[in-house]
Symmetry: C2
Subunit: 392 residues, 2 copies
C-alpha cells in the first residue's frame, strides 16, 4: 500500500483525478498548484500570507538556495522549513533546470530571473554538470549524488532526481543521449537518496521523464522512470507549460505508462488557468510555475472570462485609473476584498512595493481557488462542465 | 473647551506630557509617532499591517498625492481614507516642504525620494510657488488657497497651513522675509480653510512656526502662530529632526509661547529613539519621519542599547549570516516573533522584497512601542528615569 499518495476519485468523463499527497509536514490535496518560493520566500509575500491563501505546499529552488544562502547554512538551522518559518510541505527541484537556464546569466538587480530563459550550460559530462553562479560567476558542480545531498540538507519533503532538461531545438540524437544520461542519473539519484536515513522526517523522491517532443523518446523515458521505485513522477522539458499543444501531446504519450497510484507532476506548467485545465483533464496532479507571481509583479492580473476573454487584465492600463471595482468582483482575495482597481493601478504607477504584494496575493488566490473548485468538480464527475463554464 | 485635544497628564519632572487628539476617524494617544505614507501607502506595508502595528494615525504627502494620482481622483473616491482603505486618522502636510526639496529632483526608479534632499525651488512669489514635478517635469503651482483646497479634497483629518521651509544656509534677512511671508500664508490658509464646510467629517488645521535657527525669529513666529485660531501648532524648518542640538534649542525657544491646550508637532523629527526622547521631554506631542521606514529598506534596524549602543544594527553585515536570534530578542513585532537575523540577512542579500516589509514592520513596531512606553512613563511621572534606562 502506498502511504504517500491516496487516489480519491477519478472523474467519470475525463482522466482528471483527485487525491491526497501525505507528508510529515501535512497533507496536500491534488490537483495542486504550488507557489514558487525560489530564494526561501515567495516573492513579496510572507509565510502568513501563504497560510491565509491556504497554500498547502510551496516550492524552493535548489540551484538558488545552493548559491545563497547555501545548503549548509540551511541545514544548520534545521532545514528550510525552520529557516524560512514555514511548517507546511516543501518541494525542491534538483537544480538541473536552473543550471541549464541560468548558468550564464547575470543577476538582475532587485528581481532575480526565476528560470524563464534557456541559456547555455557551462559543461556537462557523464558524471554531472559544472556551471557558473549567476550571482558572482563562481564555479560550482552538481552531480546526481550532490544534487540529492543538497536537497536532503535543504530538507524539502519532496525532492527531485537530477536531470538534464534539453532544449527543444536539440537534434533527436542529442536528445536521446541526454535522455539516456538522465535515466542513468535517475538511478544514481535513487541510490544516493536511499543512502540517507533522515532522523527528522521522510523525504520523497520523484523521477523526471525527459525526451523533448519526440513521442518514442517520451514513451521510452516514461517506461524507464515508471519502472523505478520513485514516490512520484514528473514530466520535464522545455515545452512543458510553455508550448501547450506539445505539452498536451507529451502528457497523452506518457500517461498510459504511468502507474495510477503515483502522483504526476508537470514541472513549470501554470501560465494561465487554461493551461491548468489542459493538464488536469489529462490526469496531472501537481503543478508549479513562476508565472502567476511574476506576471503579477508586472501588473498582469487574472480575471474571470466575463471580465476579459483572455482571463487577465493589465492593471496599469489607463482605463483602470479611476475604476472603483475590485480587480475581479467575484474574487474573495485580500486585495479584491479591500482595494479598488484604481488603488492598485496607482500603486503600480507610483512604483510602490505594496503593488507587487497585492497583485501576487490576487494571482495566487485566483490559482489556488481555481484548483479547489476543480477538485470539487472532479469529485462529482463534473470536470468537463466546469471547464466549459470557465473557458467557454 | 477644546474638543480636539485633551491634555491628560504633565510629567512632574520634565515638560513631557500625554494627551489625546480627537478626530472623527478616531482618537490618537500622544505623544505619537506617525508613520509616513507618502503616496497613499506606507512603503511595503498594507493597511492591515498598520492596524496590527496599532498605528493610530498615518501621514500622507500633499505634493506627491497632488502629482499622482491627483486630489480630484482621490476626492472622486470619497477621500484618501476610502481610496487607500484606511479608516483611522490621516494627516497631510501642505506640500511646501516637498515643493522646496523635490521640485528639481528626478524621480528615482522603484523608490521615490521622500523629501530627504533640499533642492532648489522653481519660483516663489508673494502669492505662492511654481514648481516642476519630479515625475515628468510638468509645471504646477501651489498657493495657500490651493494647498488648503487640495488637502480638503484629499480629506485628511489634520491638514497643514502652506509655508515656506527655508534652508538653514539662508541669510537672516531672507529667513525673516520668508517667515513673514509664511505668516501671511498662514492667515490666508486659515481663511481658505474656514470657507470649506465639509459635510462628511471635520478637518483640523495646524499652523507652522518657521524662523530657522534664529532665536528672535522663532519667538516672533511662535507668538504669531500661537495667536491664530489653529487647532494645533507645528514647528518646521530644515534643522528640525536633522540637527538635534538646534532642534532642542528651537523647541526651548518657542514652547514658552505655545498654549498648553494645543497639540505640538515637530515636522520630520524621528530619526532615532534618542531624538524622540529629546522632543518628548520638551513637551512635543506629535512626530513624523521617513527614517524608520527608509533606513529599514536599507537594512538598518533599531535595537535596544544592550545589543548596540547606537540603538541600531545593519542586518546585511556578515556577522548576522548565521545568527539564529531575532533582530531584537525583546521585541514582539511580527518579524522578531517569526524570523531570525539570518533569514532577514538572507532576504536582504538576495534582494527579496520581503526583506523590506519585515524590516519596516520591525522599525515601526519599535517606534510605536517606544511611544506607548513613553506615554506610560509620563503618566506615572517617570519619564526621566525611563529615558535614562533607555539611553543610559
Amino acid at each position: 500500500m502506498n502511504t504517500f499518495f491516496t487516489l480519491t476519485h477519478n472523474d467519470k468523463n475525463s482522466r482528471a483525478r483527485t487525491g491526497v499527497v501525505h507528508t510529515e509536514h501535512g497533507d496536500i490535496q491534488t490537483p495542486v498548484f504550488m507557489p514558487v518560493g525560489t530564494q526561501a520566500t515567495v516573492k513579496s509575500l510572507d509565510q502568513t500570507d501563504l497560510q491565509n491563501l491556504d497554500a498547502e505546499i510551496i516550492l524552493g529552488n535548489t540551484y538558488h538556495l545552493h548559491l545563497r544562502p547555501g545548503e549548509d547554512l540551511i541545514a544548520e538551522f534545521g532545514g528550510l522549513h525552520k529557516f524560512m518559518h514555514w511548517d507546511r510541505p516543501i518541494l525542491t527541484d534538483s537544480g538541473g533546470f536552473q543550471v541549464f537556464s541560468l548558468g550564464t546569466q547575470k543577476e538582475k538587480s532587485g528581481d532575480i530571473a526565476e528560470n524563464d530563459t534557456q541559456g547555455k550550460l557551462v559543461a556537462i559530462d557523464e558524471d554531472g554538470v559544472t556551471f557558473r553562479s549567476h550571482i558572482d560567476g563562481s564555479t560550482h558542480r552538481f552531480t546526481p549524488e550532490s544534487a540529492i545531498a543538497t536537497q536532503h540538507k535543504i530538507g524539502a519533503d519532496i525532492i527531485m532526481a537530477f536531470d538534464e532538461c534539453t532544449s527543444d531545438t536539440a537534434d533527436k540524437k542529442y536528445t536521446m543521449e541526454a535522455m539516456e544520461r538522465t535515466h542513468r542519473w535517475a538511478t544514481r539519484s535513487m541510490e544516493a537518496h536511499q543512502k540517507f536515513k533522515p532522523t527528522d522526517y521522510k523525504r520523497f523522491l520523484f523521477g523526471i521523464i525527459q525526451g523533448a517532443n519526440h513521442k518514442h523518446l517520451r514513451e521510452t523515458s516514461a517506461k524507464f522512470i515508471a519502472a523505478q521505485n520513485f514516490d512520484g513522477i514528473a514530466i520535464g522539458g522545455e515545452s512543458i507549460g510553455y508550448n501547450m499543444a506539445a505539452t498536451a501531446d507529451i502528457i497523452d504519450w506518457v500517461t498510459p505508462f504511468l502507474p495510477a497510484e503515483k502522483p504526476r507532476y508537470t514541472m513549470g506548467l501554470g501560465y494561465s488557468p487554461a493551461d491548468l485545465f489542459v493538464a488536469v483533464e489529462r490526469g496531472i496532479d501537481m503543478f508549479d510555475c513562476v508565472a502567476p507571481t511574476r506576471i503579477a509583479r508586472n501588473g498582469t492580473l487574472y480575471v474571470h472570462k466575463k471580465i476579459d476573454p483572455n482571463l487577465k487584465i493589465s492593471i496599469t492600463n489607463a482605463q483602470f485609473r479611476n475604476d472603483s471595482q475590485p480587480i475581479d468582483p467575484e474574487c474573495l482575495c485580500f486585495t479584491c476584498l479591500n482595494h479598488s482597481r484604481a488603488y492598485v493601478h496607482h500603486l503600480f504607477r507610483a512604483n510602490e512595493m505594496l503593488a507587487y504584494r497585492l497583485a501576487t496575493l490576487h494571482n495566487l488566490h485566483f490559482f489556488l481557488n481555481l484548483m479547489r473548485d476543480m477538485r470539487q468538480a472532479i469529485n462529482v464527475d463534473n470536470f468537463l462542465d466546469f471547464k466549459k463554464e470557465w473557458l467557454g
